[in-house]
């Protein structure tokens, strides 16, 4: 039982990070129906921005987090502007291939300049562990930080999406882009804002992972990004609460698989979940079935 609780705690911390990244996938998909493969790499760059902020600019945790989020928000806008906007009306496969290209560009440019070896993330705050059940279950303040930051960001996101003008525009564009344009909504800037928001959340996830695992490397975005995407599909892509739930479910499942089975099966299990959900309920747990119109 204590083992189970311990795995649950690990799962919730990793799952929160998946959820943060998944939100970016889901928001971008919701608005322009694009799987932004480069999103996982924005998360990686966010981690490196956090590293730079703490090592070079000597920032503490919260300023570093904000710094990294701002850097990645700008980056997200640039990526959208240069790579995706010229292809707004191109066939879906063309955009998907471009996204894969952007992803590899970010990964290997980073690797070219910084080298492939992992870098140690500085310990921003001293680790304090709290034990329960006679020391069998431990929670560290890093795990608590991850969960708290995630919850704060999600409340903020909910507020932005539901209570602000730009959030309203985002919902309108995702509902019907043409109609939104006719109503005088600036579709381009709304899409930019979506990329900025999603990228900022991914950057936060990157910094949190840096704090949690203590290391960052240029290819860290591939697997984490794919799994975050799995979370988004699991919850129902395009649906914000779905991404959060999907992330948590995936994180907990993975923690249980590595806790009770073999940690080598952790990655395949995520994809088994993906394929099962695609085959059984492609619209995801929270999604509605939309019939294709001829």
């Amino acid at each position: 039982m204590t083992e189970f609780i311990q795995q649950l705690i690990n799962g919730i911390s990793v799952g929160s990070i998946y959820a943060l990244i998944a939100l970016g996938y889901t928001m971008v998909y919701g608005i322009i129906k694009l799987i932004n493969f480069a999103h996982g790499d924005v998360y990686m760059l966010g981690a490196f921005a956090g590293l730079y902020a703490t090592l070079v600019l000597k920032m503490s945790f919260v300023p570093a987090l904000l710094f990294s989020m701002i850097v990645c928000a700008i980056l997200g806008i640039i990526i959208e502007r240069l790579a995706y906007r010229p292809l707004r009306n191109a066939p879906k496969i063309v955009i998907l291939i471009t996204a894969i290209g952007v992803s590899f560009f970010l990964e290997y440019t980073t690797m070219y300049f910084l080298g492939p070896q992992p870098r140690a993330f500085p310990a921003i705050f001293k680790e304090v562990s709290y034990s329960f059940f006679g020391g069998k279950v431990t929670i560290s303040n890093r795990e608590i930080t991850i969960v708290v930051v995630t919850i704060v960001l999600m409340i903020l996101l909910q507020y932005i999406v539901h209570n602000t003008k730009i959030g309203k525009a985002m919902r309108a564009v995702s509902y019907d882009m043409q109609a939104a344009r006719l109503m005088g909504i600036n579709v381009d800037s709304t899409i930019s804002a979506t990329f900025a928001l999603g990228s900022a959340l991914a950057a936060a996830a990157g910094v949190l992972v840096g704090v949690y695992y203590n290391k960052v490397f240029p290819l860290m975005g591939i697997m984490f990004g794919l799994k975050a995407f799995v979370s988004a599909v699991l919850g129902g892509i395009g649906i914000i609460p779905g991404a959060m739930t999907g992330g948590l479910i995936l994180g907990i499942t993975e923690a249980l698989v590595s806790g009770y089975g073999s940690s080598l099966y952790r990655d395949p299990v995520a994809f088994v979940i993906l394929i099962l959900i695609l085959l059984v309920k492609p619209s995801g747990l929270f999604g509605k079935n939309v019939r294709e119109k001829v």
Binding site: I97, Y108, F229, Y265, F271
Partner: protein, 322 residues
């Protein structure tokens, strides 16, 4: 019947190909072609097999698969086990590898091909990762360390021969009525279905053929490099082949051949700069998508008819269309 087969064109092509096959072999044995040139040539032939087979799925049938490396892995491992543990002749191990990969294609194809576009892409990627994950967990297959000491059986004759068979089979398939059915699935699945084409059947056929030949490619590669590990068949490998397809042109076999050869050359010359190579790949991919999304050749096929037309042999109707 014989008249159709033994046309001047077909004879010329056959003679040319045989000349290349034995000419290169002769030059290699005479020591005129250095091992590096032979390495590039053999790699090109193997990548042509992989690219043409992926093009059948992505380019001709319009099913966006990014898990080709998974089938390569199946072929490579099955064939390596055949030669390592059962002392099978090379041809047998090649066929076993291809068949195992083909069966994998059927098993994966039937459920996933109901998905479309992005979802299919991500599902095939997922399957490739599952195959890789499972191989990593099987000790009999060497686990994460891979299999070492595979005898080098792939030489120029094998690689080029397999390439010829692959290209011929896929070219003839694409030009047959089945191939037309596949193309109709790509163009408009709903319309194809309305015309009475069993779209699932053709998708599964294309997918199975694609993975069968990917298996051959994987088997050849395993017996050329003599060492395989699960990580050699990750997303990066699928991406390599995908770039070759996209660059050459989706739906063009000639384009696939060109794309495979061009990028094998880029790979060979930038081998010491692995990161730079992938940056260049990514830039090529993005630029091609932005400025020429149909690839260098589009769905155009280079053939002897083209040269005849240029020489002034005009068949009237050809000049009007185009």
């Amino acid at each position: 019947m014989l008249k159709i087969w033994f046309t001047k064109e077909n004879l010329t092509v056959t003679v040319l190909l045989l000349a290349v096959l034995f000419g290169v072999q002769f030059l290699a044995q005479a020591g005129i072609f250095t091992p590096f040139i032979m390495f590039v040539l053999i790699q090109s032939a193997i990548y042509i097999i992989l690219t043409v087979s992926l093009n059948l799925v992505v380019g001709f049938t319009g099913q966006f698969s990014i898990g080709h490396a998974g089938f390569m892995a199946l072929g490579a491992y099955a064939s390596a086990i055949m030669t390592l543990n059962f002392n099978a002749p090379f041809i047998v191990s090649l066929l076993v590898g291809a068949i195992v990969a083909g069966i994998g294609g059927v098993i994966i194809g039937i459920p996933t091909l109901r998905l479309k576009g992005d979802y299919l892409a991500i599902a095939t990627l997922g399957f490739a990762e599952i195959i890789r994950g499972v191989i990593t967990n099987i000790d009999y297959l060497g686990g994460a360390y891979g299999l070492m000491g595979i005898t080098q059986r792939t030489n120029w004759l094998w690689a080029f021969g397999c390439m010829l068979v692959t290209v011929m089979v896929i070219k003839n398939f694409v030009q047959s009525s089945h191939g037309r059915a596949c193309i109709s699935v790509r163009e408009n699945e709903i319309a194809a279905e309305a015309m009475g084409i069993n779209t699932t059947k053709y998708k599964v056929i294309a997918f199975t053929m694609g993975s069968f030949f990917a298996g051959i490619g994987g088997a050849l590669l395993a017996h050329y490099i003599t060492f395989i590990e699960p990580n050699a068949f990750n997303f990066l490998k699928s991406f390599d082949i995908l770039v070759m397809v996209i660059l050459g042109g989706q739906g063009s076999i000639t384009g696939s051949v060109m794309g495979a050869v061009a990028l094998t050359l880029v790979n060979a010359f930038l081998q010491s700069l692995a990161e730079l190579r992938l940056v260049i790949y990514a830039i090529i991919l993005i630029l091609v998508m932005l400025f020429r999304p149909q690839g260098l050749l589009g769905s155009y096929e280079l053939s002897f008819k083209l040269f005849q037309r240029k020489r002034g042999v005009n068949h009237g109707s050809h000049s009007a269309d185009a």
